[in-house]
Symmetry: C2
DNA sequence: ATCCTAATTTTGGTTTACTCAAAACAAGTG
DNA sequence: CACTTGTTTTGAGTAAACCAAAATTAGGAT
């Protein structure tokens, strides 16, 4: 990935979607870009830092509008509240840390989209497949390893 | 008690897990078996039909205990509240109707567990993969088709 | 069979994430 | 610049789920 990525002009994003360009929207968009996979509350906190008057409801409103406009993607891993990311038309997936709930992107499993073909679909017309991987993130692995080494005799 | 119906002996399930056999637990187990993929509230309703004194809190307690004991599996599709099913050690997946939220089981995608191998996992140690398919269930397809066919007014 | 203790359930209050609605306000069109 | 409509604020409300203390009960011990 590039370090100098010019954000696809948030203003145009909004306008092209037929949405008005407002300060809260730009702030939310920026906040999501800076911290992908954030929930409404932490985005609210981030937005407030730059735009103190903003209400939490405004953030919910913005997130709802941008999500239905297809500018943001909303994911809801079990046990987490809704998280938002700038969607990249690609159908990518996620890993969630079972311990700290951290989320990272995962490219679609087998290149294309093999996941889109269940064996028997009970008559459902499948529109999308969503894959969530669960595991321990590097940090929690380290913490778990350290704890184990400290309490019990080293497993080495 | 009833002598003539042999189900996977709920009593043994509980005892083997080191859990006490109580009326609420048996009732919840039965209710989940009858209506898989139910949420706490509808299980509560079902349980109350047979065991009127039961509290919602008890149902939450039972669900929690049975889930950590591995007797029930808890799933949380986006936009639905937590749903419960009797787990079958198999790692099966689910289809959720985008319209009515109905859920059905789907056998693991490509036979074994191909889904367990993401390309790049950001250093996470993957423990499990969860696949959720989204689509229109037969009933909602029919309803959508009918509405479309009746060109003018959506018969609601 | 009865007692005892830890597990379970009840009761009641609390939290978190999110929605709804009316009124104030501001973006963008003409 | 004014107007219209979309957006945000303000304030209240809801549903799902959790927490804690007290009452109860299952099941092993006596």
């Amino acid at each position: 990935m590039t370090s100098t990525h010019i954000s696809p002009a948030p203003r145009e994003l909004l306008r092209d979607a037929g949405l008005k360009v407002t300060a809260p929207r730009l702030a939310v968009l920026l906040a999501v870009e800076r911290a992908p996979h954030s929930d409404a509350d932490s985005l609210f906190a981030a937005v407030r830092r730059e735009l103190p008057g903003t209400s939490l409801q405004a953030v919910y409103g913005v997130l709802g509008a941008l999500t239905t406009a297809g500018i943001l993607r909303r994911i809801e891993p079990a046990t987490s509240s809704a998280l938002y990311e700038r969607r990249i038309g690609d159908n990518h997936h996620h890993v969630v840390c079972t311990s700290c709930k951290a989320v990272e992107d995962i490219d679609c499993v087998h290149g294309a989209a093999p996941c889109l073909a269940p064996s028997a679909s009970h008559g459902f017309v499948i529109e999308a497949a969503e894959v969530t991987f669960w595991g321990l993130c590097p940090r929690c692995q380290a913490r778990a390893g350290a704890a184990r080494a400290a309490s019990a005799p080293p497993v080495r």
